[in-house]
């Protein structure tokens, strides 16, 4: 529809103490893409997501969302902009004092747009979307399994009908079967809701199954942004090691 990139990062630098995490990083993500952000542990992927969401601000550089500067405009405008994306945090970050249903309904309730009956319908809808049963609605977050937490968190991220979905390691900590079904779920949602998705992952299977593009973060920059096949063919040392480790398994890799 529009040609403006959904996410546009220009010259991002981040510094913790005297450690430079991002060093003039550029990245732009087009509407409708499913971009996998990969990189070594501690390379600054989560930090980059936090920049995109506006939880932290880079030492230098610009973050643009939907073609507008993240922190431009008044409070109301900024708040509106924040409602256009949904986030799945690495640990779920569900509100521990609220039930599953209340967790999902909370963002909508805040807007005061829907009646209680509509809220119930929407909660049931989101639960159904992420493959949970209506009976799970009254459970507390502490009573959920790891996979369920991810699903509820995804349902909450979808509550405001976002255009952009940010997922931090959506399949980490799930068994292969659950991981596969979660991947299928994300793919379905991506198609059905015409979302733009940015996901951080270490898992090559997830990446191959989902990503339309792979962004590789190494040495504080995005060293490659290309399709999965093209990325695999690249001869950047980090990318080679990343895919080689997945093929042979990290243990054998170490033994060689």
């Amino acid at each position: 529809m529009s040609t403006v990139p959904v996410v546009e990062l220009r010259g991002i630098s981040t510094r913790f103490g005297n450690k430079l995490v991002h060093d003039g990083l550029d990245l732009s993500i087009e509407s409708g893409e499913m971009v996998a952000l990969v990189g070594g542990s501690g390379s600054g992927k989560t930090t980059l997501l936090r920049h995109i969401i506006g939880l932290t601000r880079p030492a230098s550089g610009r973050v643009k969302l939907f073609g507008e500067d993240l922190f431009s405009g008044g409070i109301a405008l900024q708040r509106q902009r924040r409602r256009r994306f949904g986030v799945l945090f690495q640990q779920g970050a569900l509100f521990s004092a609220l039930t599953v249903a209340e967790n999902i309904a909370l963002p909508l309730r805040e807007l005061k747009l829907a009646t209680d009956a509509e809220l119930d319908d929407l909660v049931a809808l989101k639960l159904d979307m992420v493959g949970l049963r209506p009976d799970d609605a009254l459970l507390m977050p502490a009573e959920l399994s790891g996979g369920m937490i991810k699903r509820v968190a995804l349902a909450r991220a979808l509550a405001l009908e976002p255009e952009l979905l940010l997922l931090d390691e959506p399949t980490a900590g799930l068994d292969p079967e659950r991981s596969a079904s979660f991947v299928a779920l994300i793919r379905t949602l991506h198609k059905a809701l015409e979302l733009t998705v940015v996901l951080v992952t270490h898992d090559v299977d997830t990446l191959k199954a989902l990503a339309t593009q792979v962004a590789v973060l190494a040495d504080g920059r995005i060293v490659s942004l290309a399709s999965v096949a093209a990325t695999q063919a690249s001869d950047h040392p980090f990318i080679k090691r990343f895919f080689a480790a997945a093929v042979t398994g990290p243990a054998e890799q170490g033994a060689r």
Partner: protein, 377 residues
């Protein structure tokens, strides 16, 4: 004319009443677009009736919020006359299906529940008592174990706790003590002056502060300051599963978490009492000097005669007992916290309130038990 000025994305509803009786929808029926025009749209939706022909062919986007809004406006069933593109129909069907899924409701509150709640409170109290006794018992066992295995003493934890609850509390304890001393002395002096009984200010301040006020004041301060911190700390460890990690590592949580806190507070509190009483007396002394012209030298000289030594020991013993109590209560409530924020706040509140109440209760028991000790004359 109107439609030309508004951008095409804005959701619109045109009701054509009369012969044709149609509702024509246009624009993006999404949460983001609907939110600014939510209430007027809802009002217009109400005006439609059963025979209205719903024309959704102009809707460029429909999300589940918009679909649910329409579905509810239609009274939860498909309208007799509907003209919707396939894309919209899919979304509507999903919302329609979701509306038939019944979310379980928390059961309504009835009269019987009130009685049950009352009963639960009684049993809850018994439960607290049992858990508290069990905690104390476990600590005694730990203590015996540590006597047998002196190498296992959690000395680092104890010293860290002494620093946290004792040393760091000194400035605020001194300040509060000093001010209370000043106020007490000032108020007493007003009365004593009237009777010409100026020198009894030493007796009043000495007895009051050393025996009663010092220990209780410090207890209230420490319960609010360190008791709540202890409860919250153990509670957060529950929330972040650190308690489980400790258990999995085979580390006793009473030995490593509770015992150091209890011992540290039981050790620091008497010292804090001494410190606070001293600064309260200093405040009282200065105030008496300014108000009654009672020289500081005279005050210091008279104090030992006015307040026999046993009173100091009673004050210290109270301090130790209250410290023990506050730490035990704080840890007891901390360990009962369930892994959610609501439980964390409820138990932290309960911990402080219970600690202060118990301290005052035990203070009364002390007062009765020691009524013959250390009384001058």
């Amino acid at each position: 004319m109107e439609s030309q000025r508004t951008p095409p994305a804005t959701p619109q509803l045109e009701l054509i009443t009369g012969e044709s009786n149609r509702a024509v929808l246009r624009g993006e029926w999404t949460l983001r677009r609907l939110s600014p025009v939510n209430s007027p749209l809802r009002r217009s939706l109400l005006k439609a009736n059963e025979n209205t022909l719903w024309d959704l062919s102009g809707v460029s986007r429909l999300d589940s919020f918009g679909a649910t809004l329409l579905w509810r406006a239609w009274g939860g069933r498909w309208p007799a006359n509907l003209n919707a593109p396939d894309a919209c129909r899919v979304v509507l069907e999903h919302s329609a299906r979701a509306a038939t899924l019944k979310l379980p409701k928390p059961p309504a509150y009835r009269f019987g529940d009130a009685i049950a709640a009352l009963g639960a409170r009684v049993f809850g109290f018994a439960d607290h008592l049992v858990a508290f006794i069990r905690l104390v018992g476990q600590l005694c066992l730990d203590f015996v174990y540590l006597l047998v295995h002196p190498g296992d003493w959690p000395l680092r934890e104890i010293s860290a706790n002494v620093f946290k609850v004792g040393v760091k509390a000194m400035p605020v304890a001194a300040l509060v003590g000093f001010l209370i001393g000043v106020v007490l002395s000032y108020l007493s002096a007003l009365q004593l002056k009237a009777y010409g009984a100026d020198i009894f200010i030493v007796d009043i301040l000495g007895m009051g502060i050393i025996r009663e006020l010092g220990p209780v004041l410090v207890s209230v301060l420490v319960a609010g300051r360190s008791g709540s911190a202890m409860t919250a700390q153990i509670g957060v460890m529950r929330v972040t599963e650190e308690l489980d990690a400790l258990a999995a590592l085979g580390i006793s949580r009473t030995q490593r978490l509770v015992l150091p806190k209890v011992l540290a507070l039981a050790f620091s509190m008497p010292l804090l009492v001494l410190w606070t009483s001293a600064s309260a007396l200093l405040g009282g002394m200065l105030s008496a000097w300014l108000q009654l012209d009672l020289s500081i030298g005279f005050f210091i000289e008279t104090l030992p005669r006015a307040v026999p030594l046993p009173n100091v020991f009673i004050g210290l013993a109270k301090g130790a007992a209250f410290g023990l109590l506050i730490a035990l209560v704080a840890c007891h409530f901390g360990l009962r916290i369930k892994p959610n924020t609501e439980s964390l706040s409820a138990n932290t509140t309960a911990s402080v309130v219970t600690a202060i109440t118990l301290v005052i209760l035990v203070d009364a028991i002390f007062a009765i038990a020691t009524r013959t000790i250390g009384v001058p004359g």
